[in-house]
Symmetry: C2
Subunit: 260 residues, 2 copies
């Protein structure tokens, strides 16, 4: 028999879903109907690049990660924490779902440090040290739905750009002692694809051994690798269910189920 931990759904939605208002509305309607406690994390990377260009700043990406100089940090803070976070919160409130938009700085929910420079200097990018679970539990107990964007802080006054998949994974890991968690990484495809050219070639289940093989075979590559690593990291911290899936899998366990 399972113990009496409450259920918690943590949904991460990718930037391409956030930037299409019609899709976003469809997703938020579904998200709001999830029973029980829930947390939303959103990206917005494509829009950050668009706004950067409008402002004459050339986006600098290395292996799908944004190099964040001071000017780019201003842009991502504006786009993630301002434009998209508040659009999502206002749309959720209309449904209604009592949303609260957060960066890691708000209530000191997620503390990170500026990534240590080894070969590459990613600039103002944060690696997460600490999730303050007590305040997040208080919010959830009060039927508040936290909506996190991809910005954290170092508790010394510095905001830091932080990968939204990683935020979702770290939140799930930190909250796993208190909840039965389902973590879903929701993106524009319906799951991890065996053949990138065939949207129907969804792999229904991937365990750690499969993952290694798929990487060797080049079936899983590029941006899917950090997403998979975040999924396994959560599973290793006792998060019970992890999916990489499309928007139609918000209410059902479809897409690719990730297992240890």
């Amino acid at each position: 028999m399972k113990n009496q931990k409450p259920l918690l759904t943590i949904l991460k939605i990718g930037g391409k879903l956030v930037e299409d208002e019609q899709k976003l509305n469809y997703i938020l309607q579904k998200f709001a109907k999830i029973k029980g406690r829930k947390i939303l994390i959103h990206g917005g990377g494509k829009a950050a690049s668009t706004w950067s260009k409008k402002l004459g700043i050339t986006p600098n990406m290395i292996d799908g990660r944004r190099v964040t100089d001071a000017a780019t940090l201003e842009v991502v803070t504006m786009v993630y924490a301002g434009l998209y976070n508040k659009k999502i919160v206002s749309m959720l409130q209309a449904i209604p779902c009592n949303a609260l938009g957060l960066t890691g700085a708000d209530l000191n929910t997620i503390q990170s440090h500026k990534r240590v420079v080894k070969d590459l200097d990613y600039g103002y990018v944060g690696d997460i040290d600490f999730v303050q679970t007590s305040i997040i539990q208080q919010l959830l107990n009060n039927h508040i739905t936290p909506v996190f964007c991809a910005i954290t802080h170092d508790k010394n006054g510095q905001l830091l750009n932080t990968n939204a998949d990683t935020i979702a994974s770290k939140l799930a890991s930190a909250l796993a002692p208190f909840y039965h968690i389902t973590l879903k990484f929701c993106f524009e495809k319906n799951g991890v694809l065996k053949n990138p050219a065939d949207d129907d070639s969804i792999i229904s289940k991937i365990d750690y051994q499969d993952y290694q093989k798929y990487k060797t075979d080049g079936i899983i590559s590029d941006g899917m690798i950090p997403k998979m690593d975040n999924a396994f990291s959560a599973l290793n911290s006792e998060v019970e269910q992890v999916y990489i899936c499309g928007v139609d899998a918000i209410h059902q366990n479809a897409g690719t189920s990730i297992k240890l």
Copy 2:
């Protein structure tokens, strides 16, 4: 004998103070040291104009009020709710002061409606209908410091640009039944000036009769008029102390005291 309502300080800081990082740091250090419950409201209008111009949008101001078309609403949401609100929250957390950045959409704290078009169409500008005092009281009771920016929503999914002085006044009025409130409108001068050219010509006290006379004489004009109206509106709602003052009056009751 006063009843046992707790003290609450509501501080509004003007855009010119927010945009100078050194000044902002000085103010936040002082703000964090205010004893008891406190709420911060910040502007950012000058920066919104700067960012608008960078994006090729010409700011359109009528009587000091920003006409907010759809593109301008995106800019003010990014600049107020993103850039400045999160910079302030991260700086306060470093002091430390447990800040939570909010728009009116977050937790549905401040609900407004799009201003009705009479002679002028201000676009996506909100006139406040409702402050949800219960959730703000819960935050304050949990030693959380709300930091509001100048964005509200209509509860139908529409964000609205809303004057920060008005937000401060409406918050104070709505919370007056529960707290002994001191409301300070803090800006780049040290008070209301008798002679705009002389920074030392501070009027120490203005009552409603004085205000009418100063308006007739042209001593109080332009942007100071809505600020004064917001001050009197709060006093009429049982807010106990209202000041228009400079940053050095955060810890003492200096500047211009407004009285009924």
